[in-house]
Amino acid sequence: MAGTRQYPDDPSGPFPSPPTTVEDRDGRSIEVRAAESFTGETLDDVVGMYTEFDPTDRAQGIPPTGEERIRTWLETIGDDSVNVVARHDGDAIAHAMLVPDTDDPAAVEHASDIEWELAIFVLQAYQRAGIGTVLLKNLLGHASDIGIERVWLTVERWNNPAIALYERVGFESTGTESFEQEMAIRLAGDGNGVTGDG
């Protein structure tokens, strides 16, 4: 699977890097931070967020439901994943992550050599407020900072708002599609992200 995806020739960006604090369209102050490690309190907070997530917005089986299954899912992908969390009044309300597309833990050291799968979830009460766009851009900025160059995702083919959002930041369709549409973006991966609010 790895190594066969088509990526855009030119890198997208630059993207803003976390941390940043923005006001959403409803006037709420939203703080976006990269997780240093995806364990302890940060993990607990994100597990808590997913227990609140409305399962009607699940996509392709994730997030799972029930605290135990959510924790197992996040712990399984957590070790080598890259995570950015958005908070309102201290509570996690949106989460975006990159998971390395490799079975070899040693390969993760060379971030630019491997492909990273992206997913983003925003709690229902915080959707349609611009938070997803900010979070997505900051995840891509952070990814570029740490040397990641190739990011891909799949999205349900009928999810036009999500596809439009991904296209706006630079994702292109890879041509692989069935029920889900595969998209990919190339990042500069040179650590030249713009720090500050985005």
Partner: protein
């Protein structure tokens, strides 16, 4: 029940083969196995064919026909199901991405949208 099992050459197909043979033994279903032509997959059509025959032998099931189907996998599978008297068409239920997302390929989509029989996706 008269079951038709469609296999490609992936690990997903191997799992589907194993599960379907187990189920066949448990409930005494009638089973037919077809192996489609999917050049990009891990195992060749011949390899998968042999694996299916071996698995049946190991399970001591003797009355199962195993066939190779040429041409476009999805339509070959649906055609075959349509010509025969099958209650159910069984195929692999998709792969998981690194993130844990379920991914269904174009063959699965074609089968789901075109098969006249009940379709079972094995997870």
């Amino acid at each position: 029940m008269n079951v038709l099992l469609g296999l490609g050459g992936s690990d997903e197909s191997v799992k589907t083969l194993r599960r379907t043979i187990d189920r066949t033994r448990e409930v005494g279903d009638e089973l037919t196995i077809v192996v489609v032509e999917k050049p990009e997959s891990k195992r060749s059509q011949d390899e998968m064919y042999r694996q299916a025959v071996d698995a049946l032998e190991e399970a001591d099931i003797t009355d199962v026909e195993v066939e190779k189907l040429d041409g476009d996998p999805g339509s070959a599978l649906v055609n075959y199901a349509e010509q025969g008297d099958y209650d159910q068409l069984v195929i692999g239920g998709g792969t998981l991405s690194p993130m844990g997302k379920i991914q269904l390929g174009p063959i699965t989509e074609f089968v789901l949208l075109n098969a006249p029989t009940t379709v079972k996706l094995v997870r």
